[in-house]
Symmetry: C2
Subunit: 229 residues, 2 copies
């Protein structure tokens, strides 16, 4: 029995949600699109393997990203090579340029999640991706994880775009602004501003110390438009 890690690496780029995909260089599924990942070595745990594969296949440094275990996939027939159990990880990244270095990094690319069709991914990676997306969407509600999609300093508009793009909704800019600046230790004002090519400069913030978001950002309200009368 073998153990692998598979990585769902998400980012927001050009107002669309993207996932990092590679083109497989080896059988099975050679030439097919897949999540980055690889075998866990005998002396490492899956966390270490996830960090290593992230660096090897994509050039990203997982220590600077949000990286968490998602769940494991154990169906005996999920890999034609035999029994291969995969521990999936979810990583959230700001819109970083992909370093071209590294052995396999040339094949890594950001792909808009919405552009993927049903059979586009190898193995059971479509399912893993779906689980990762659902985890990310859910955690935006109750945690401060949205900042993991942002660079070290960011504007409130950028943060709002994260919510809008990941959830596929549009949010009222005024209510959002009020909510995030009032939330406990979610944002810390840096006192600096970003001067854009055009338009009024925006105040820059960095992530505060909070990990849970209170009060939560309830996506559910959109799903339950009328609460009951």
């Amino acid at each position: 029995m073998s153990l692998t890690v598979d990585l769902v690496v998400l980012t927001v780029r050009d107002d669309r949600l993207h996932v990092l995909l590679i083109e497989r260089g080896k059988e099975p599924f050679r030439g097919k699109t897949a999540l980055p990942g690889g075998f866990v070595r005998s002396r490492e745990d899956s966390d270490a393997a996830a960090l290593r594969e992230l660096a090897e296949e994509t050039g990203l440094d997982g220590r600077t990203l949000h990286l968490e275990q998602l769940r494991s996939y154990t169906r005996p027939d999920r890999d034609p090579r035999g029994r291969v159990v995969s521990v999936a990880y979810l990583a959230l990244a700001p819109d970083l340029p992909l370093p071209v270095a590294g052995t396999d990094a040339r094949r890594a690319r950001w792909t808009p999640v919405a552009d993927l069709g049903p059979g586009d991914l190898a193995f059971d990676h479509a399912r893993i991706l779906a689980d990762g997306l659902e985890r990310a969407r859910a955690k935006l509600e109750y945690t401060t994880l949205a900042t993991a999609f942002c660079p070290p300093t960011f504007t409130i508009t950028e943060l709002r775009r994260v919510y809008e793009v990941v959830w596929g909704v549009s949010l009222d800019a005024r209510n959002f602004h009020r909510k995030v600046v009032n939330a406990d230790d979610f944002l810390v004002a840096t006192g600096t501003r970003r001067v854009p090519d055009v338009g009024r400069p925006a105040a820059l913030y960095r992530a505060g110390g909070a990990t849970v978001l209170y009060p939560p950002m309830l996506r559910a309200a959109a799903q339950h438009p009328v609460a009951r009368t």
Copy 2:
């Protein structure tokens, strides 16, 4: 490399949160207390193994319980026998009598979670239990999972006790009552009542079709007693 499942089976009994533990009959950790579990067979996935081990070791039927994958534990040194990866599952059960049948069932027993000391569990099972508890506590907030601790029909007081015991707080009976009966499809009145030995009979409900709880039952408010002024 081997694959095992470990089960965190929780219930509420006598107003205390209990976890199902076994006494190990084999090395390593023979005679020591541990979570129930065992090796995944070559033709089954971990979900099937979790169901099978639950039946074998505890006599419980996982199909009638809430059973979900928790996460995996992959540290190379977590089992003295060598590399053993464990997929942990979380199960929530009503206060069932433990069937005494089955090969190992005689050693399974409910143990109050609060009575466990730091070194009481074999392997890394203390960590797995802690992760399972945190998952259960978190999911009570945003899902209708509390009903998984209740029998098929239950009273609102029983449901409130679940929250109180799992979270270790006390909740206002009036506010709780209003909240759960107003929540979308959380409870369905059966029209029947339970007549206790003493006291006024209580209306019986069964779980509604909702899986998410909206509005959520915010535990966070207790952790943030003063929201900001």
